[in-house]
């Protein structure tokens, strides 16, 4: 069973979409139920994978490898490792969450919506699971089309422009990446002897680039991932897309798709172009810091709810980027964790934004005021999510950002210091957000606005639980990624082609840590 589990995971949403396709458009509830069922089953599978994943091993697990287009060296190669295992769980979690939230927010052409959402999920899962460059690219792009339609068909008044902007932006990046992929393949064929798009095979040994070529190819990948994240200044699709997409879709856009960019940097750029990453890392660190501060500042100046969150997201993704390019075990671990965290908290923020907008139809913050009086539960939940976004300790956001900044400080102290200022900016704009919406005198037209409904509680509950769980017990997540990240940062020792299980003896967790106390040891007297 484990041999095909990942394929099953990807196939589930597709099968769900197929099932939904046969439901009459006049029965939206049935479509929603079937779609949700498929997504929940996929979540269960993903949760099982997450639980069964064995930490401490750097290589791929649940690996599947089959020929796809043997004549062209394209393989069907799936696998999870520390980088992706939590992300696929996040995908599988957020999609049903979004789908459930959509029940209250999307009433138009429900069948198509559910169907498209499921296709998107398949694309997302595949993106995080693919270990073959072409397969990855297929999934990477396969996310785009459903997302385009989700924005263009179910979005706000300027949805068409936003959707096409999103699409063209991301396409530009991915097309450059495609060229880079092909170039890697060709070079790989020259060096390895057999033409292959298989990532572990290509990453197994240096491909003998000249620095200039390596930088160019790294650039091709980095632009694609940078647009997706987004990295300043490639971000201007983001506010439009985030603001125009239906909020539940923005949940996925911000919560998951952005992660695909950061994930790609770790998954592909680090192993394939280690030297270029080190050479150009400082530039990206600077861009990350600029993004953090710039995003925060612009967010502060936004009058639109979702634009504010969008720029906030830009700022937050800057932390992840900084963590990656600080190339320090703590910072990269922090980034990997923060990808999940940001997915949870930004996802929750946009769910909340969707609830608000669904209630009032208003997107601008000045249309709100004093809502804490009318909807105390909503206010409380928002506050919790905001604290997570603010990276307050005790929430998930803290662990990630703390690790990122701590790690980055060791290698890039100035960057880290400036990035830490971004934490203040986050406080400024997020509390301004809370203040404008929930504080102050209650606007008369908002009186009697209904508070959270049971279904909305149900949607938010898992996210809130995760916020605290990861905040207090991040160990399971960090442990899962540690070995992989460690291997990733060790130049050229990571991917042993074909035999990831066999070769590496996992470093015994916790033993070699400096100053660390073993778990659960009650009292130590110095």
């Amino acid at each position: 069973m484990n041999g095909v589990l990942l394929s099953v995971l990807i196939a589930l949403p597709i099968a769900g979409a197929g099932a939904v396709a046969f439901i009459s458009p006049r029965r939206p509830a049935a479509a929603r139920a079937v779609g949700l069922a498929a997504a929940v089953i996929a979540f269960l599978v993903a949760a099982w994978i997450w639980a069964a994943f064995r930490p401490g091993r750097p290589g791929l697990q649940f690996e599947e490898h089959a020929a796809w287009v043997p004549a062209a060296g394209i393989g069907y190669h799936l696998g999870v490792d520390g980088l992706s295992v939590s992300l696929i769980a996040l995908v599988a979690l957020l999609v049903p969450v979004a789908m459930a939230a959509a029940a209250d927010q999307v009433h138009d052409r429900t069948k198509g919506f559910v169907l498209t959402l499921l296709l998107l999920e398949a694309g997302l899962l595949g993106t995080f699971l693919a270990q073959d460059l072409v397969l990855f690219y297929v999934f990477w792009e396969a996310m785009l089309i459903p997302m385009y339609f989700l924005i263009a068909l179910w979005g706000g008044p300027a949805r068409r422009a936003a959707a096409i902007k999103f699409l063209l932006y991301t396409m530009t990046g991915s097309m450059l990446m495609l060229l880079a992929i092909v170039a890697v393949y060709l070079q790989g064929a020259r060096v390895i002897g057999t033409p292959t798009f298989d990532l572990p095979a290509l990453a197994a040994r240096p491909l003998g680039w000249t620095p200039a070529v390596e930088a160019l190819l790294f650039g091709g990948f980095a632009v694609a991932f940078g647009i997706k994240m987004p990295v300043w200044p490639l971000h201007t699709w983001l506010p439009d897309a985030y603001a125009e997409a239906p909020p539940v879709v923005t949940v996925l856009l911000a919560g998951l798709m952005a992660k695909a960019g950061a994930y790609g940097l770790l998954r592909f750029c680090l192993p394939l172009f280690p030297d270029a990453v080190r050479a150009w890392g400082p530039l990206f660190a600077v861009l990350a810091v600029v993004g953090i501060l710039y995003g925060g500042a612009v967010a502060w100046a936004q009058g639109d709810l979702r634009r504010l969150l969008a720029y906030g997201s830009l700022s937050h993704m800057g932390f992840i980027l900084l963590g990656i390019f600080a190339l320090d075990i703590q910072s990269v671990q922090g980034s990997v964790l923060q990808m999940v965290n940001h997915g949870i908290s930004t996802g929750a923020l946009f769910v909340l934004a969707g609830i608000l907008i669904g209630r009032t139809g208003q997107g601008r913050t000045d249309a709100y005021g004093g809502l804490a009086a009318a909807t105390p539960a909503l206010a409380a939940v928002t506050l919790i999510v905001v604290t997570s976004s603010l990276a307050l300790p005790g929430t998930n956001g803290f662990v990630g950002e703390f690790l990122i900044l701590l790690g980055a400080f060791q290698t890039h102290p100035v960057h880290a210091a400036l990035a830490t200022v971004g934490v203040v900016l986050a406080a400024a704009y997020l509390l301004a957000f809370v203040g404008r919406i929930f504080h102050g005198p209650l606007r008369p037209d908002l009186r009697g606005l209904p508070d959270l409904r049971p279904r909305e509680y149900a949607v938010l509950a898992p996210l809130l639980a995760l916020i605290f769980w990861v905040g207090w017990v991040p160990g399971p997540l960090l442990d899962r990624s540690e070995a992989t990240v460690r291997a990733l940062l060790k130049p050229r020792a990571v991917f042993v082609a074909g035999a990831p299980h066999a070769s590496m003896t996992p470093p015994p967790a916790g033993v070699e840590r400096k100053g660390g106390a073993p778990v659960k040891q009650a009292v130590t007297r110095p």
Partner: protein, 478 residues
């Protein structure tokens, strides 16, 4: 002529015979009420049978068989080109049936011309002599002129025919002049002999003019001027057919002349083709941006795709040639599918070819909308459709040949193309259907669309077999 020769050219022979049978049947059967039958008309079924028979004849992979004194070769390239052309013909027939009857076009002539044109394309792809190439070109294009003008009640169809014909004849003159110069330089019309010739200015001039003629048929910029106007004016099924078959012929010819005919002079001709490819991709895609007439939009799209195809020819070698063949197969499927959906629509007895005509298609005919979306997504080059794999191979070929610039332009223009393709897909899925546009599904057209969509998806999701076939075919060029 021996039986072997005829056996080698069996697909063409079958098509020609079928064309004659169709004509005769049509002549006998005049007076039968054509409108009533939903099952499809007799000429359509006859043509289909002929095409299938030809496909069966073309299908076996038989290594390399030279016939007619070496002027005609049946090898992997021929086989694939034949199958693509025949598939196009089959889908073209299926798509045309309802339209031909609805618009009261002369059915016998229509199908006979379609079959002959297919024959021409197949001849071009099989030619190893410039004479055969020239005649194939004419057999391909002459029927297309007629098909463009065949909706005689429509002044637009007439205009399309006139433009196509006059410009086509003009370009043919260039082509023949090119043949003459090559002949003058090499003293031979045999492409196999040509391969040993050192490049000379005269040969170069000949190749240049040859390229004009082939480029015209392929609608390369700047020889593309006819394409938008003809596509817009000609009857839809004819456009669907010609948009593919002309490219099959033209690129079959280009492969025979350049990568296969002159591999040693690649350094000389590759830059020319790259330049043309760049111009074609850029202009085709840019010009498509503001289009609101779908036929016109697809015409420019066809121009742009000619540019992509040319990347493969310019890259040459097995990789480039294989990529071109793969791309042609995918292009046939997706382009026919795209046009095919338009064929289902009817605006008060006329073609519904405006962008707004497909609005709300999703609501009234979801499967048609999905087909359209899949085909346009493929045209835009997104996975998991064939369009993506095809582009992947093209870029691989270009980068493998060190042609980075053209690949870069290719990817960037692909991004531009996304704008107009996805706009169409968007419109089909949104808005209200216009009241005066009706959806007229027919079983044959449905079958055609199913075939096309299946092709698009199969080439995208399980492309292994086609890839292997294409590689095997192109391996000849090593």
């Amino acid at each position: 002529m021996t039986w072997n020769d005829l056996a080698a050219a069996a697909p063409e022979t079958i098509l020609v015979v079928t064309a004659c049978v169709v004509l005769l049947q049509d002549a006998w059967a005049t007076g039968a009420a054509p409108e009533a039958e939903r099952r499809g008309s007799a000429p359509a079924w006859l043509s289909l049978a002929g095409v299938c028979a030809a496909a069966i004849a073309a299908a076996p992979a038989a290594g390399e068989v030279a016939a007619f004194g070496g002027m005609y070769v049946r090898d992997g390239i021929t086989r694939l080109a034949d199958l693509i052309a025949l598939g196009t013909a089959a889908v073209g027939v299926l798509l045309a049936d309802a339209y031909v009857r609805r618009m009261r076009l002369p059915a016998g002539e229509y199908y006979a011309l379609l079959l002959l044109s297919t024959t021409g394309a197949m001849l071009m792809a099989a030619s190893r002599s410039l004479i055969v190439l020239f005649l194939g070109l004419e057999i391909l294009s002459l029927p297309l002129y007629v098909l463009a003008a065949i909706a005689r009640r429509s002044t637009r169809s007439q205009e399309a025919g006139l433009k196509y014909l006059l410009l086509g004849a003009f370009a043919t003159a260039f082509f023949v002049y090119g043949v003459a110069l090559v002949y003058g330089a090499a003293g031979t019309l045999d492409l196999r002999v040509l391969a040993g010739q050192p490049p000379s200015p005269l040969l170069g001039g000949g190749l240049a003019l040859l390229t004009v003629g082939l480029g015209f048929e392929a609608a390369l910029v700047p020889f593309h001027g006819w394409a938008p106007d003809v596509y817009e004016g000609a009857p839809l099924p004819a456009v669907a057919f010609m948009s593919v078959v002309a490219k099959v012929g033209a690129f079959g010819g280009l492969i025979r002349v350049f990568p296969q005919g002159l591999p040693h002079a690649a350094a000389a001709w590759a830059p020319m083709l790259q330049g043309l490819a760049i111009a074609t991709m850029v202009l085709g895609n840019l010009a498509a941006l503001p289009q609101t007439n779908l036929k016109r939009l697809l015409a420019y799209s066809g121009v742009a795709h000619a540019g992509y195809l040319l990347i493969g020819v310019a890259a040459g070698g097995p990789a480039g040639t294989g990529a071109v063949l793969f791309y042609l197969a995918v292009y046939a499927a997706m382009n026919l599918g795209a046009f095919g959906v338009l064929l289902l629509l009817d605006r008060r007895g006329a073609e519904a070819d405006r962008l707004e005509d497909i609005a709300g298609l999703w609501g009234r005919a979801p499967w048609a909308a999905w087909t359209l979306a899949i085909c346009f997504v493929s045209l835009a080059g997104f996975p998991p459709t064939g369009g993506f794999i095809a582009k992947l191979y093209l870029f691989r070929a270009a980068l493998g040949a060190g042609q980075t610039t053209v690949a870069l332009v290719g990817v960037l223009t692909s991004v531009v193309s996304v704008f107009y393709y996805m706009r169409v897909a968007y419109v089909a899925f949104s808005g209200e259907a216009p009241a005066d546009v009706a959806v007229r599904p027919s079983p044959l057209a449905g079958a055609a669309l199913t075939l096309a969509t299946a092709g698009v998806l199969i080439y995208g999701i399980i492309p292994a077999r086609l890839t292997a076939a294409v590689q095997q075919a192109a391996a000849l060029l090593k």
